[in-house]
C-alpha cells in the first residue's frame, strides 16, 4: 500500500522533518549533545568570580591611593610643625637680639636659641629633603649661618672690647646688618610655613576627590557587572522558557548550541534533550499502543469475515471428499479452483490488516489522498458492515498530493471512521469527503461525516483531551482523538469538530499541501 | 433443554435455590457432591480441590498458582463434561466463571438477604452483628479476588449474568418461579452452535488439565477438535516444548489437530527492541 510510493518520496529535510523514527531521533539528539559539549567552557560561576575579583582589585587600588595620600598629609603636617618650631626658635633669638641692642644684655640666650633652630633644621632637613628641595635647604642653612656668624661676632666684641659697644656708628652698622639677616630668616621660615599650608590644603582636596571618584568608578563597575550577568542569565532563561513552550506543543527537536561557550545551562540543555528523547519515546509508544488497540478492534471483524471463505473451503473440501468418484474431471477442477480462490480471498482479508499492523519506520512521502482513504476504508470495512452501516467516499478530482507519514495518517482516519461507526445507528451511513480547504489556500480538508448521536455540547471542548471517553469502560482508551490530534499537528494540520446532538458529527482534518513537511514551530 | 448456572456468595443459598429450581423444572443438579469423584479420577486430594475452588480458606503459605491452576482445570474439565447432556442446574463449582459464551446457559446470581446472613453468622460464631457484617464484607472481597486470580473474571460485574435476583426483596419461592419462567424462554434453547461451543470449551479444558500436570502458563482454545495451545517459552526450549505439547494434547480423546503458539517473552523483547 503506502510502500508503493517509496520511489516518489522526497529527500527528507533532516532539520525540519518533525516525524522521525526513533533511531533517527536518537542520532540527532546525540549530535546535539556533541555540539553542545564541543564549545569552550565559560561558567556563570566564573563570570561572577571574575567580576568580584575586578571589584576587589579596584577597591584595593583605591585603598592604596588613599593610604598614600593620608601618609603625604601626615608628612605635610609634620613639616608644618617643624617649620613652626623653627620659626619660634628664630623669633626667640631675635627677641634676645633686640634686648641686647636696647639694654646691652647678654647674647648667650640668643645664640642658644639660634643654635637650637639650627639643630632643629639640620636634624629634620634630612627627612624633609623631598619637600624642601636641595637649593632651598642650602639657602636656609646659609641664612641661618650668616645670622649666627653675626651674632657670634658681636659676642666676641662684647667679650674682648666692651668699649666698642658704645661706638654708636659701629654698633649702628652691626645692628642694621643683624636686623636685615634676622628679618630674612623669619621671612624665610614664615614663607616655608605658608607654602606648606597651601600644599596641605591641596593634598586634602585631592584626597576628597579620590574618595568621590573611586566611589563613582566602583558604582559603574558594579552596574556593568550586574548588567552583563543579568542579561546572560535572563536571555538563557527566556530561551529555555520558549523551549518549554515548543516542547509542550509537541515539537521534539532537540536544543542546539546558540552561544560560543558552554556553562551550567549547557547541563540543563543536555538534561532537557534527554527529556525530549524520553518524551518522544513515550509518544511513539502511545501512538503504537493506540494503533494496537485499533488493530484489536479490527481483528474481531476480520476473524468473523474470515469465516466466510473458510466456510466455502470447508464445504468444497468435504464435498470433494464425499463425491470424489462421482465427479467429472471438469467439476473437480472447478471445485479445486474455488478452494484456491477462497484461500486468496482469505489472504486479502488479513493482508490489509497485516499491512497496517506492520511496524514500519516513519517515512515522509508523497501521498495520494484518494488511495490512502480507500485503503483506510477497506481496513474498516468489516467493522462498518458488521454494524450495518454504509460508507461512502467522495474525493474532489485532481486534489493536490500531500506529504506525510502514510501509516500514521491512516491511523488517524481509521480512528475517525471507527468513532463514526460507534456513533452511528444501524442503517445509517458515513461519508468520507476529501476536498480543498475553503478557508486557507494550499490546504486540503478530509471530512468524516456521520449521522449518529452527535456529541453533547458540554463535552465537545474536552474530546481531544487524553483519557476522555464517552464509551463504556473497556471499550475505549480515550486516547484516540488525543493521539490523532498529535499526529495531525506534526503534519502541520489540525482537526476540527462540528457536532449537533442527535443529528451527527463532522470531523474535519485539515492538512497543508507542501513540498516539504512544514514544521509547526519555527525558531 | 438449557443449563441453569446458579451462583451466590452464600453456598447455602446456592444449594437451596438450585435444589428447588431443579425440582420445579425437572432437571438434575450438579454441585460439589461431584468433587470426590473428580478428586479420585485426577488423583488430587479432595481438600485441595475444595480449597482451589475458594470453598475453604487458603492459608497464604499454600497459595501456589501452579497447583491451584491444575486443580481448577480438572474441575473445569469435569464440570463442562457433565454439562453436555443439559437439563442441569449447576451450582457451587464456579461454573459461572468458565462457562462463557454459551447461549443456552442461563446464569443467575443470587444476592443473599444481608440481614439474615448477618444474623446467621452472628449466631454461628457468637459475634456481634457489626463484627459479622465486617466478616461478610471481607469474605466477599476475598471471593472477588479469588475469581479474578483463578479465572480472570470480575465476579461483581453484573453484565456477567443473565439474571440477578435479590433475595432481600424476592422470596425464594418467587426466585424459583422467576428462574422457571426464564429458563422457558426460547433464547435459552440449545442449538448446534451453542452445543458445539460447549463441547469446544470442554475439550479445551481437558487439554489444559492434561498439560498443566507438567507445565504452567497454558492457554487453550478449541474448535471442533482442533486445539490451539498458547504458552511461553525461551528461544532454546521452543522445539522441545512444542513437541511435548503436541504429543500430550494429542492423547486427549476428541483432539484431531494441535497447534502450538509459544510466546517468546514479548514484554522483555519489546523492551529491548525499544532501546
Amino acid at each position: 500500500m503506502a510502500r508503493d510510493a517509496t520511489s516518489l518520496s522526497e529527500p527528507r529535510d533532516g532539520q525540519n522533518g518533525n516525524i522521525q523514527n526513533i533511531y533517527d531521533r536518537m542520532e540527532i539528539i546525540g549530535e546535539a549533545r556533541r555540539a553542545l559539549l564541543a564549545r569552550k567552557r565559560f561558567n556563570v560561576k566564573t563570570q561572577i568570580f571574575i567580576a568580584n575579583a575586578i571589584v576587589f582589585a579596584l577597591a584595593l587600588g583605591v585603598a592604596a591611593v588613599l593610604i598614600a595620600s593620608i601618609y603625604r598629609i601626615q608628612r605635610r603636617i609634620e613639616f608644618l610643625e617643624f617649620a613652626n618650631e623653627l620659626t619660634i626658635e628664630i623669633q626667640q633669638a631675635r627677641r634676645y637680639e633686640k634686648n641686647f641692642f636696647l639694654y646691652r644684655t647678654n647674647l648667650d640666650d640668643a645664640l642658644e636659641n639660634i643654635h637650637a633652630a639650627q639643630e632643629v633644621f639640620i636634624t629634620n632637613a634630612e627627612s624633609f629633603a623631598s619637600l624642601l628641595g636641595y637649593s632651598q635647604q642650602q639657602t636656609v642653612l646659609r641664612q641661618l649661618e650668616g645670622y649666627t656668624d653675626r651674632l657670634e661676632e658681636l659676642q666676641e666684641i662684647q667679650r674682648k672690647s666692651p668699649s666698642k659697644l658704645f661706638d654708636a656708628v659701629f654698633m649702628g652698622n652691626i645692628e642694621s646688618q643683624l636686623r636685615e639677616k634676622g628679618k630674612d630668616i623669619i621671612t624665610m621660615a614664615q614663607g616655608l610655613m605658608g607654602k606648606e599650608k597651601v600644599e596641605l590644603t591641596r593634598t586634602l582636596q585631592r584626597s576628597i576627590a579620590i574618595h568621590m571618584l573611586s566611589l563613582v568608578v566602583l558604582l559603574v563597575v558594579l552596574i556593568i557587572n550586574a548588567y552583563l550577568l543579568g542579561t546572560r542569565i535572563a536571555t538563557v532563561l527566556t530561551r529555555f522558557s520558549s523551549y518549554a513552550q515548543r516542547i509542550a506543543a509537541g515539537d521534539f527537536t532537540p536544543i542546539t548550541p546558540r552561544r560560543h561557550y558552554r556553562d551550567e545551562f549547557t547541563e540543563l540543555a543536555l538534561a532537557i534533550n534527554e527529556m525530549i528523547k524520553e518524551l518522544a519515546n513515550r509518544e511513539a509508544a502511545l501512538i503504537q499502543t493506540h494503533k494496537m488497540r485499533a488493530i484489536g478492534t479490527l481483528t474481531a471483524g476480520v476473524a468473523h469475515e474470515l469465516n466466510n471463505p473458510m466456510n466455502n473451503i470447508m464445504l468444497t473440501a468435504h464435498m470433494l471428499m464425499e463425491e470424489n468418484a462421482a465427479l467429472s474431471e471438469e467439476e473437480r477442477m472447478s471445485m479445486l479452483k474455488d478452494v484456491a480462490d477462497e484461500t486468496t480471498r482469505a489472504k486479502h482479508i488479513i493482508g490489509n490488516l497485516l499491512d497496517f499492523a506492520r511496524e514500519s519506520a516513519a517515512t515522509i512521502q508523497t501521498l495520494e489522498l484518494e488511495k490512502l482513504l480507500r485503503d483506510t476504508i477497506r481496513l474498516a470495512e468489516n467493522q462498518v458492515r458488521m454494524s450495518g452501516i454504509k460508507i461512502e467516499l467522495q474525493v474532489t478530482q485532481s486534489l493536490p498530493a500531500i506529504h506525510g507519514d502514510g501509516q500514521k495518517l491512516q491511523q488517524v482516519f481509521l480512528n475517525l471512521i471507527l468513532n463514526a461507526v460507534d456513533a452511528s445507528t444501524k442503517g445509517s451511513k458515513i461519508q468520507v469527503i476529501a476536498l480543498p480547504y475553503e478557508k486557507a489556500p494550499d490546504h486540503v480538508a478530509i471530512k468524516v461525516v456521520d449521522y449518529g448521536h452527535g456529541i453533547p455540547r458540554h463535552v465537545i471542548s474536552s474530546i481531544f483531551d487524553p483519557f476522555f471517553t464517552t464509551k463504556a469502560k473497556g471499550h475505549g482508551t480515550g486516547l484516540g482523538l488525543s493521539v490523532s490530534q498529535g499526529i495531525i499537528a506534526k503534519h502541520g494540520g489540525k482537526i476540527l469538530v462540528n457536532s449537533e446532538e442527535g443529528s451527527g458529527s463532522i470531523f474535519t482534518v485539515v492538512l497543508p499541501v507542501t513540498t516539504f513537511p512544514k514544521t509547526i514551530h519555527t525558531f | 433443554m438449557p443449563i441453569i448456572i446458579i451462583s451466590s456468595e452464600d453456598p447455602a443459598v446456592e444449594e437451596q435455590i438450585a435444589a428447588r429450581t431443579a425440582k420445579a423444572v425437572g432437571f438434575q443438579t450438579l454441585g460439589p457432591e461431584v468433587l470426590p469423584a473428580i478428586a479420585a479420577k485426577h488423583a488430587i486430594p479432595e481438600p485441595k480441590l475444595a480449597e482451589s475452588l475458594g470453598r475453604t480458606a487458603t492459608p497464604w503459605w499454600r497459595r501456589q498458582a501452579k497447583g491451584r491452576q491444575l486443580s481448577l482445570a480438572c474441575v473445569e474439565a469435569e464440570v463442562l463434561d457433565r454439562l453436555a447432556p443439559d437439563n442441569i442446574v449447576c451450582w457451587g463449582l464456579g461454573a459461572h466463571l468458565y462457562v462463557l459464551g454459551i447461549s443456552h446457559a442461563l446464569k443467575a446470581r443470587l444476592l443473599p438477604d444481608p440481614a439474615r446472613q448477618i444474623e446467621a453468622l452472628a449466631g454461628q460464631r457468637g459475634v456481634s452483628p457489626q463484627k459479622a457484617g465486617k466478616l461478610l464484607e471481607g469474605a466477599r472481597l476475598k471471593r472477588a479476588q479469588w475469581a479474578q486470580a483463578a479465572f480472570g473474571q470480575n465476579e461483581m460485574d453484573p453484565s456477567m449474568y443473565d439474571l440477578i435476583i435479590n433475595l432481600g426483596q424476592i422470596d425464594p419461592d418467587e426466585a424459583v418461579g422467576t428462574l422457571t419462567t426464564a429458563v422457558g424462554y426460547r433464547k435459552f434453547q440449545p442449538m448446534t452452535y451453542s452445543i458445539s461451543s460447549l463441547a469446544d470449551l470442554a475439550l479445551a479444558a481437558k487439554v489444559k488439565a492434561k498439560l498443566l500436570r507438567t507445565m504452567n502458563d497454558i492457554r487453550v482454545q478449541a474448535r471442533d477438535g482442533k486445539v490451539v495451545v498458547t504458552s511461553k517459552a525461551l528461544q532454546r526450549e521452543r522445539r522441545k516444548k512444542t513437541a511435548a505439547i503436541k504429543s500430550l494434547a494429542g492423547e486427549v480423546p476428541g483432539v484431531n489437530y494441535v497447534e502450538v503458539h509459544l510466546i517468546n517473552y514479548v514484554i522483555r523483547a519489546a523492551a529491548e527492541s525499544f532501546r
Partner: protein, 136 residues
C-alpha cells in the same frame, strides 16, 4: 422415502449454494438456492417451504429480517441460521425470534444435514440420512 423436503437456501456467498445444493439433494431434499435476500423473500411469499436456511449478515437485507418474514408467512417452516458472525447475543436473538437452529460458519455439510434431519423429524417427515455417506 416420503415426499421430499422443500428447502430454500439463502447466502450471498455463491459457493455455499453451489456446494450445499447437491449435498442436500443426496438426502432427498429439493433445494432452491438464492444469493439475493430480496428475491428469496419474494419467493418465500409465494411458497411455503419446509425449511429455510439463511445467512445473517447480507448487504441488502439482514437474515434476522428474513427470519421474521418467514415466521410471519409460514409458522410451520423451520428456519436454520448460518453465520460467520456467531456470537452469544446474535444466537439468543435468533432463537428468541423463532429460529429452529443456529450454526456457526465454517461448518461441514454433515453438520447441516444433521440439523435438517432434526428439523424434518420435528416436521414429522423422515430424511434418508444414510444416502449421504454412501460414497465414504
Amino acid at each position: 422415502m416420503s415426499a421430499s423436503l422443500e428447502i430454500l437456501l439463502l447466502d450471498d456467498e455463491p459457493i455455499v449454494g453451489k456446494r450445499l445444493k447437491p449435498a442436500l439433494a443426496k438426502i432427498g431434499c429439493e433445494v432452491e438456492v438464492f444469493q439475493d435476500p430480496i428475491a428469496a423473500v419474494a419467493r418465500i411469499k409465494q411458497k411455503s417451504f419446509d425449511i429455510v436456511v439463511t445467512d445473517i449478515r447480507m448487504d441488502e437485507m439482514d437474515g434476522m429480517q428474513v427470519l421474521e418474514i418467514v415466521r410471519e408467512q409460514s409458522p410451520r417452516t423451520k428456519v436454520i441460521m448460518i453465520t460467520g458472525y456467531a456470537m452469544i447475543a446474535l444466537a439468543r436473538e435468533a432463537m428468541e425470534k423463532g429460529a429452529f437452529d443456529f450454526i456457526a460458519k465454517p461448518f461441514k455439510p454433515d453438520d447441516l444435514r444433521k440439523v435438517i434431519a432434526k428439523a424434518a423429524e420435528a416436521l414429522g417427515s423422515k430424511v434418508d440420512f444414510s444416502a449421504a455417506n454412501d460414497n465414504n
